[in-house]
Structures are given as C-alpha cells and as structure tokens.
Amino acid sequence: MPSDALATSARPFAPRRSLIAQNPSVLWFLLALALFTLGVTVLAEMGLVSTSMVKTLGKTLCLCLVAVAMDVVWGYCGILSLGHMAFFGIGGYAIGMWLMYARTEIIVTTSLAAAPIPPTPEEIVDAVGTQIFGVVGSSEFPWLWAFADSLALQLLMVVLVPGLLALVFGWLAFRSRVTGVYLSILTQAMTLALSLWLFQNDTGLRGNNGLSGLQNIPGYDHVPQSTVSLVFFWASAAALAAGYLLFAWVVSGKFGSVIRGIRDNEARVRFLGYHVEHYKLFVFTLTAVVAGIAGALYYPQAGIINPAEIAPIASIYLAVWVAIGGRGRLYGAAIGAAFVSLLSSWFTGGGAPDIDLGFYRIQWTDWWLVLLGLSFVAVTLLAPKGIGGLFDLIPGRRTPDRQGDYGPDDGAWRREEGTE
C-alpha cells in the first residue's frame, strides 16, 4: 500500500544496507549483461555472429537503456511520457551532426588538396555545406550547426539539449498540475511538434532526408566495421550497465519511495510536505538525458536518422516495450525492450515463416503489427505485470527490502483506485 511504502523508508532506526543488498536483481542483471557481452564478443571474434547481428544487438542494448529510463519515469513515477523517444532522437541528431560534419570535412579537404591553390577555411566550410545541404537545395550552414565541428561540444549537446527541453517542458507541465492522460497527450503533442519541425527543410537538419552515413566514424576509416560495431556494442553495454546502476540507486532510497508515493497518490505526497513538482521534474529530466545518451549510442550503429524516428508512434512503442516487459521493475523494462524489438525485427524482416491457412496466407510482415497491437491489449488486460511477472513465480526469491507492492498495480483488477 502506498502509504506503507513511505512509512517504511521513514522508519527511524532501519539499518542502512547497500544498494545491492536491497535489490539483489541488480547483481543478477549486471551479471547476465556481462556474460551476454562477453559471449557475443567471443562469438563475433570466432565469426559465428555477423557484424550486422552485432550492430542489431548493440542497438537493442541502447533500446534497453531508454526503456529502463522510461520505466523509471512511468513505472516508478507514474508519468506516462510519450516523448522519451524524441529525447532519444535528439541525442542521435546531436551526435549525427558531428559525425556527418567531420566526415564530410575530411572528404572535402582530401578532394580540395588536389587543387593548385590550398583552400581557405571559408572555402572548406562552404564545400562541406554544399555537400551536406545539397539535398535540400541549400549550402548555407544553419545556426543549429554552430558547434558541429567540435566533438566535445556536440557531445555536450547530447546531454544538454534533451535535458533542457525536458526541464522547460516538464517545468511548464508540472507547474500547471497537468497530470495523467493530459500529460501523456501533451508530451505526445510535443513529440509531434518536434518531428514536424524536423521534417521541414528550412529547419537545417536536412528535412526528411535526415542525417546519413553515421556508421562511418571520422578518422577511423581504416578500422573495419566489424571492429567498430564491437566497440559500439561494448559502449552500449557499458552505458546500459551504468544507467541501470544509476536508476537502481535512484529508485531504491528515500527518493525512490517518494516518487513511488507520487505515482500512487500525488495529493497525499504533496500534503506530506514534499515538493512533488521538483521530484517529477528531476525524474523527467534525468531520464530524458539518459534517453539522449542512449540515442547518441544507437544512431552511429543504425547509420541513419530521420524525423520519422521521432514521430509519436516511436514513443508509443517504447511504452509498449515497457508494459510488455513489466512496469515497475527495471529488469522488466530491459527484457521487454529486448524481447519485443528483436521479435519485431524477426517478424518484419521476414524471419518468421508464413502461415498458410488454405484460403489465406498470413504473411508476418503484414500481420505482425496486428499481432503486436492485440497482444498489447491482452497484456494490459490480463497480465499487467508483463514478462517480469514471471520472475515472481520463482519460489524462494528474495524480494526487495521494502514493504508494499513491487509493481505499480495489479492492472485491470486493482480495486482501490476504482473506488476513489
């Protein structure tokens, strides 16, 4: 019960125990992740796992990271944000700008070196601009690209832009007490506005062409893609491990109790004297920053980013992954993201065999979304704990050192909210 959860952490003489001791699942998750990373590396070195498979797995790890962030904001804090894939995309755009600029600059410098007169810096910038913006009929560098020539500044943008956007948006929304579905719709509107803005050619991010060629790391052209993909795979795994630890720490202490209290009954927490808006704003912004970092790792592996990746539907899928994986437990979100996104690429990539019904042939490339949609309805209705709920079936499992419900609710069958 929510009020009990608060009371627990407020016990004056509760012995202070380590994060791992409180949450044994953290250790298991990190162990599994380490084994998985090592296993894939060994198999890749042996040539048993293709480069594209390594990239897919690396991308999946990034999706797990953003799903864990989504779980914190939704499963723990009760904010169903439909904007976290937008923050993910912003991170991708931020790193993509540097990748594209730096690589084009190398190409341009090489080709201009053959000219009789050495090029001036302005000429190089002009030529890079023509190369990058030729597709949208322009050659001028928009103001958005002001820092594109510096990796350090652009990496700062990966963190700053999603963070600031989340901060400003969250401040506006939480301040005026927009909650529940209204907040979901508002975040969806923000995502839609962002993707529409990016779709315009005069925004300066190449309109619907997006940024491409991101898999080529400037200055490392001589390194084969198999090595690059492994490096990114390791980086993604490290980011996921770090992110998981960070969020496990955030949700385990007193702070975690407060945000769970906000999820279960915001008004009561406010009356207890907590600044609910500050807590929500912190969670919203922190998860947005992590989503941006995940995006910055994802898109160099994907190779291309365009505004369609930021469309509201992407954020909805993120919610789908977390819901199927199981809200309110971090490993559930990671499992859900990995499971659904891999299954999705298996089905849509033609991996699943067609089913011949005699009168009709079910092709999974066409019918996968129907299946996903319906199974999503089924999970929401019948198994609100998602895949993560399976772990509750393990006998003798050590549950976290916390009274009260682990997950946010019992889904459709929960009684108390219906009578409020």
């Binding site: 009789p116 309805v377 219906g418």
Partner: protein, 649 residues
C-alpha cells in the same frame, strides 16, 4: 449567316464609316498583295482599310481569313470562300454574300495562308466585332482577349459597345476594362487620373495588374538624378533595398565602374601564375587565407600581368559618387501619384477581403476539427474514457464510404447510404470495444490509453492489409463540386460548406441527445455518479456501452465527411487524433460547447499561422502545438472550464 449579318450591321452602326460604303471585294482588291501574302507588318494596313471601309461581311471575312479558309482565283485575283463541289472541284462562294459563284478546279485556286503572327493581328482586329456579338460567351471571350493583350486602339470600340450590352454583368466588366484601358492609355492626364480613381473601388486581379503596370519602375544610376524623369524613389546603397554589392553591380552594368575581380577569378589567376611553387614570390602553401591571396594578386597586378584588384575603399568611393534611383516608366507624375493612391486603397480592400477569405477557411477547418473531435468529446469529455483508437474509427467510417461507392455508383445515393452505414459500423465497433476492453479499465485512464493504443495499431495495420497503402478516393456528388464565389478573392468550395453544415447539425444533435432525451439524462447521471445512478434504476453498463457506441458512431460519420475532403488512407486517423485531443483539452473537458470553442480556436489559429508563414503547413502545425502547450499553462482546464464539484469528477 444571320449572325454575321447582324454583326456587320452592328459594326456599321458603331463604327461610323468615314468613307462611302464600299464593296468588300473591291477593298480587298485594293490591297490584294497584302491579303494574299500578308506579313505581320503589312497586315495592319489591310485591316485598317477593311475596318475604315467597313463593307458588309467584313467580320466573316476576317474570321475565315484567320482560319485559312479564303482562296484566291489565280486567273483574276478575286477572293472566294469555297465549299466541296462535285468531282474534286470546289464550289466558289461570294465573300460578301456567301452565295455560290461558280465552281473551279483546285489547281485554279491559291490558298491564302496567313502565318501565326498575322493571325494574331487578325484576331486582335476581330475583337471589336466580337464585343457586340449577340452571343454573351463571344463577348466575354473578347473581353478576356483584350485584357490579356491591352492596347490603346481598343478603347474606342470597347466604349462604343458598352451602352448596348444587354447583359449587366458583361456591361460592368466592359466598363471596368474600359477604365483599365483608359488608365493606361488615356489621352490626357485628367482622363487617366479620373479612370484610375474609379479603379480604386475594384479589387480584381486585372485592376491590380494594370495599376502595377502603371507603377512599373526601372532601376537607374547616375552622378545626379536625371532631370524630368518621374523618380519613384532614391535608393541608399547599403540599405535593405539595395546592398552595397548590388549597387556596385549596377555601376558596373551601367559602365560607370570597372568590374570587380571575383574571388574565383583571383584563384584562377593565382593558379595560372605559379612559378616554382611560388606566386609572385609567395609560397603556394601559404595562400590559404583571403588576405594572403589578395596580397599575392596585388603583387601580380604591380607587374602589370593582371588588372588591378579594387580595394574596398575604391568601391565605396565609386558608390558614393553616384546616385541610385528607381524611375517610373510612366513620365506623368500626376498619373503615378493617382495610381499609387489607388493601389494603396485597392490593397486595403484586398487585405480586408483576404481576411474574410481566411476567416471562411478557418471556419471550415474548425468545422472539420469539430467533426473529428465531437465523438471524442463524448467518449473522453463526458465519459472520461481516453480512446486512442478514435482516429481509427474515423478511418473506418471513411473506408465504409469507399466500399459503399464500390457497390453504388451513384455518388449522391452512395453518400446517403454511407452516412448511416458508417455510423452503424463504427457504433458496432465501439460497442464491441467497450464490452471487450474498456469495461475492465474504467477509472484507470493510463491503462485505457495503452490498451486503445494497441487497438489503434492493430486496426491501422488491418486496414493496410485489406485496402493497401495507397490512398483511396471518396468522391463527392457532382452538386458538391465547384465553389461559391463571392468576389475575386473570397470563395469557398461547396464541400466545405457541406462539412460546416454537417458540423452544425451534429452540434445540435448532440446537444439535443444529451440535454433533452432520456438517454442523455441517464448518460449524465452515470458519468456523475454511477452508484447513485444505478440505485435509481439505471443500468450503468448499458449506458456506458451506448454512450461509447454513440461517440464512436459519430467518429464514423466524421470519417465520411473528412474522406470527401481529403484522401482515405489507413493513416488518416492518426493525422487527426492529436488535434482532436487538443481540441477537447483546449476547449475544456466534459462540455460540447468547449469542444466547439476549442475547434474554432485551433482552426483560426492554424489558418492564421499559415497566413503568416504561407506554403508551410508543417510550420503552422508546429507553432500551433507549441501555442496549445503554452495555452494549457494559462488555462489548464480549457476555455470552457467546469466549475465546482463537476470539475473534480
């Protein structure tokens, strides 16, 4: 024939013949060479002579001449029309009367074949006859032809034809065109200024074009302003209207200053003068800044190998020594002043009318948003159920309309069938969804949101699997084609009017159902307090089911309406879902009037932004969403906010 005669008669009356009436054939014989082998320059003489003499049948002759139907008998040079005769011979027809005048073999005759330029001249001459043509369409065509290619000599025939025109609309058009011609080609200043002043009441495109033509300017440059020229304005170099670079470019074009050496040219010159890895003693590798390159170029210029490079100061001096101006092509300052004043007034009127047009557009867009959102206003606003598949219900309605049209080819009938059928289909789908999914999730809005997302994804893909990805047409009946034209600027298509009317009908219907019927009473009772309603003998399950069905059914009808206006695709629902929710939220949840207010605000806003940023609907949508986010800051409960206890429900 009668037509030609009448026209000829009219021409006779209108254009007073200065010389005694002359036979057509004899006039032609006077200019025989010009008729037989007309050139663009010489044909004017012939036409003038024909019009001056104005013999009977001259209009027919001009028409036939233009259509290459005039023949000349080689033996005596007489002109005839022909008709197919017996045995390959041609029957000759008299050009004045059209009566048969003997036969001739084909090789005895020569065809008169005026070229394209000549035919245009003839057409121009014909216009004056067509202006008095009994057929209004011909008169209208003549006016169009004059307007397209106006000239001074058309003023007289045009004015002459005004008084007798029986058609008031054409008469007004003639008067306007006469005023335009007078304004441009009038004989004296007073006449022209008077004509221009009458034009200031008119907002037509032609009027504006004529005024703008009078105000046409050409750029000029000189050491002083030319005396006697009608100067429109003086330009200051470096200002927004004329940048310093442009100003210098004009000096170069006018031959008043040497051409500047372009950066690319410097580079070429330097590349051509590389000697042992050095240009004029400067190592090539150091030439990677503009300053260094200019230095190298200057050194080359000192040796006289290349023309000297102009410094910025020299350019500035050249620009400062000259004045830049724009001069009117029209020398008469009184005329241009009047035209400018008239244009200002016209622009003001055009602006007012454009505002009216945008307002109509906004109203029509608002009615579309209202239609899309009103079903949601019931399910979300009244019941509090958030249905993300609402957009897909709109899509289902539109596809129902499309399928009906496949079976019923008559568009009017098919729409009449499609509207109730779409309601039935989406009502059924809504009831099924309520029973199977939403019933379990009342009071759990986030869960509802997610489950209906799932349904939305599944339905969208299902539609894609059944109907394919390409857009399907939903054709409106013919009587909805076209548009209601109020004046040249304000116009609205009938289909938008129909949607507007439909939106009003639905507003009335929903208000009636909710406020005046037993069902509405029960709906309101159940949404306010299901427990109390149940103890009054109302079955909340049944009411919830019916209300949700009603909201969904209205979405289906909205789908048919939207399908008529836009294309039917499997994604059309998702185009409207965010806007629909915004409409309901901005308007104020739980209130049909709020939805109306929200739709109006969003419609007006979107059109307004599109006006500010023309041809960029993406930007308009972006800004609109940003505005809505900020608006919710100011009024979190929407425009029409519920007060008191109902607000907490």
């Amino acid at each position: 024939m009668l037509r030609a005669l009448l026209a000829a008669l009219a021409a006779l009356v209108l254009v007073a013949a200065p010389v005694a009436a002359q036979d057509l054939q004899s006039v032609l014989q006077e200019h025989r060479e010009g008729v037989e082998n007309p050139s663009r320059r010489s044909v004017g003489v012939v036409i003038e002579a024909l019009i001056a003499a104005d013999p009977p049948g001259v209009q027919t002759f001009l028409e036939r001449w233009q259509d290459r139907e005039v023949w000349v008998r080689k033996a005596d040079g007489l002109f005839f029309y022909t008709a197919p005769g017996e045995g390959g011979a041609l029957t000759l027809l008299d050009i004045a009367t059209g009566d048969p005048a003997g036969t001739a073999a084909r090789d005895e005759l020569g065809e008169v074949r005026p070229n394209g330029g000549v035919r245009r001249e003839i057409a121009g001459a014909l216009v004056r006859f067509q202006l008095s043509d009994p057929d209004p369409r011909a008169r209208s065509a003549a006016l169009t032809s004059i307007a397209r290619n106006p000239s001074a000599d058309q003023i007289e025939p045009l004015r002459a034809s005004i008084a007798d025109d029986p058609d008031p609309a054409l008469k007004a058009a003639k008067e306007r065109l006469a005023a335009i011609l007078t304004a441009r080609f009038g004989e004296n200043t007073a006449e022209r200024v008077a004509a221009i002043e009458t034009l200031s009441n008119d907002i037509g495109l032609e009027t504006r074009a004529a005024l703008n033509q009078i105000l046409a300017v050409s750029p000029g440059v000189g050491t002083t302003l030319p005396p006697g020229a009608n100067i429109a304005r003086e330009l200051r170099p470096g200002s927004e209207a004329l940048s310093a670079a442009e100003a210098y470019g004009r000096l170069v074009d006018a031959g008043l200053a040497p051409a500047p050496v372009a950066r690319d040219r410097i580079k070429e010159v330097l590349a051509a003068n590389i000697v042992d890895g050095r240009v004029a003693g400067i190592p090539v590798a150091t030439l990677d800044t503009e300053a260094r390159r200019e230095e190298a170029y200057d050194r080359l210029a000192e040796t006289g190998a290349v023309p000297p490079f102009l410094t910025e100061a020299e350019r500035q001096a050249a620009i400062a020594a000259h004045v830049f101006y724009e001069a009117y092509a029209e020398p008469d300052a009184a005329v241009t002043d009047a035209a400018r004043a008239a244009l200002t007034e016209v622009d003001l009127r055009v602006g007012a009318n454009q505002t009216a047009d945008i307002a109509l557009d906004a109203l029509s867009l608002a009615s579309i948003y209202f239609l899309a959102a009103i079903g949601l206003a019931i399910t979300f606003g009244v019941m509090g159920v958030i249905n993300m598949a609402h957009g897909e219900f709109i899509m289902m309605g539109a596809y129902t309309g499309y399928v009906v049209q496949l079976f019923v080819p008559d568009y009017t009938l098919s729409i009449l069938i499609a509207l109730p059928l779409a309601f039935a289909v989406t009502f059924g789908a809504g009831v099924a969804m309520e029973r199977l999914v939403i019933r379990w999730l009342y009071r759990r809005p986030l869960e509802t949101l997610l489950a209906t997302f799932g349904i939305s994804i599944a339905l969208q893909q299902l539609a894609k699997n059944i109907f394919g990805t390409q857009a399907r047409p939903l054709t409106a009946p013919a009587w909805l084609d076209g548009q209601l034209v109020i004046n040249e600027i304000v116009a609205i298509s009938y289909i938008r009017i129909a949607i507007f009317v439909l939106a009003l009908v639905f507003l009335g219907l929903i208000l009636f159902v909710l406020k005046r019927t037993r069902l509405g009473l029960e709906v309101r009772a159940v949404t306010q307090n299901p427990g109390m309603a149940a103890s009054m003998g109302i079955n909340p399950d049944r009411i919830n089911m019916l209300t949700f069905g009603l909201g969904s059914g209205i979405a289906g009808i909205a789908g048919v309406a939207i399908g008529l206006y836009a294309k039917v695709t499997s994604e059309m629902g998702s185009d409207y879902i965010v806007q629909s929710f915004m409409t309901v939220v901005v308007g104020g949840v739980g209130n049909v009037w709020g939805t109306l207010a929200g739709a109006t605000l969003i419609g007006v806003l979107q059109k307004g932004i599109e006006w500010v940023y023309p041809s960029n609907t993406l930007a308009a949508q972006t800004f609109m969403i940003l505005f809505i986010i900020l608006f919710i800051q100011v009024r979190p409960r929407g425009i029409v906010a519920l007060k008191g206890r109902a607000a907490e429900a």
